[in-house]
Symmetry: C2
Subunit: 142 residues, 2 copies
């Protein structure tokens, strides 16, 4: 364990029918579908389901740790004035991004290059955490 299902998931959710179907469909394929694609898949079994419901349930399922979201925690693009390869660390809470002071792992890139049938052109590594500032705020609540 290491990545994903960050942050709390402190809610009570029933496993409803649509939720179950969405979960099954996402688990059935290995194509890492977009929300829209999931919508298409699920609609074959539940023609009257709405896109909003799919989004809501994908969100619930991923914060419950049953599936995972692939993509940035915050969906706003950020830019870095340094063009060389280095890693970042992102705060789950406020979205702030800083540089992560570790060496790059180009070794891994070579490994994957041998195994995979993709032409590898690079990799991205991002750490996820809670920044000191947000940690502070969090304390003042409890």
């Amino acid at each position: 364990m290491s990545s994903q299902n960050f942050l709390d998931s402190g809610q009570k959710h029933r496993m409803t029918n649509q939720r179950q179907v969405i979960l099954e469909e996402v688990q059935k394929v290995n194509t890492h579908p977009t929300a829209d694609e999931v919508y298409g898949m699920v609609r074959k079994r539940l023609p009257r389901i709405s896109l909003g419901t799919v989004y809501r349930n994908l969100e619930i399922l991923s914060t419950s740790g049953l599936i995972q979201k692939i993509g940035p925690p915050s969906n706003q693009m950020r830019f870095d004035g340094k063009a060389d390869n280095h890693y970042h660390i992102r705060c789950v809470s406020c979205g702030r991004v800083e540089d992560a002071p570790v060496e790059t792992v180009d070794k891994l890139e070579n490994t994957i290059r041998e195994i995979s049938d993709y032409s590898i052109v690079g990799h991205k590594l991002e750490f996820i955490g809670i920044c000191p500032r947000c940690e502070e705020k969090r304390k003042s609540f409890s």
Copy 2:
């Protein structure tokens, strides 16, 4: 070499004034600003610049390799039925995502945990490449 400025950049661009200012501002800070924040920064020097121009130039600067974009190549969220931690490989060209068959590097996570003042909760590693299918298409053009 390793990350970023993937794919061609086969265009001729002049270093115009606004382009230069945007570049300088992004390089000046180490906060990894969003497009909107860059807009704010740049506007102090060029009050009449438009947000559209900022977006256009950030795009050009990053495909030219002068700065880098932090975030997913495609800004559409994807979902994975497998909840355990594993890495992905994404095609620059079509956006397809597959699993990358390499072991996780939790060692790195511990390293960063010691160095950084963030509470680390996980990490994400994503390889970027061109999938066989797109590679094929590419050939048929040349």
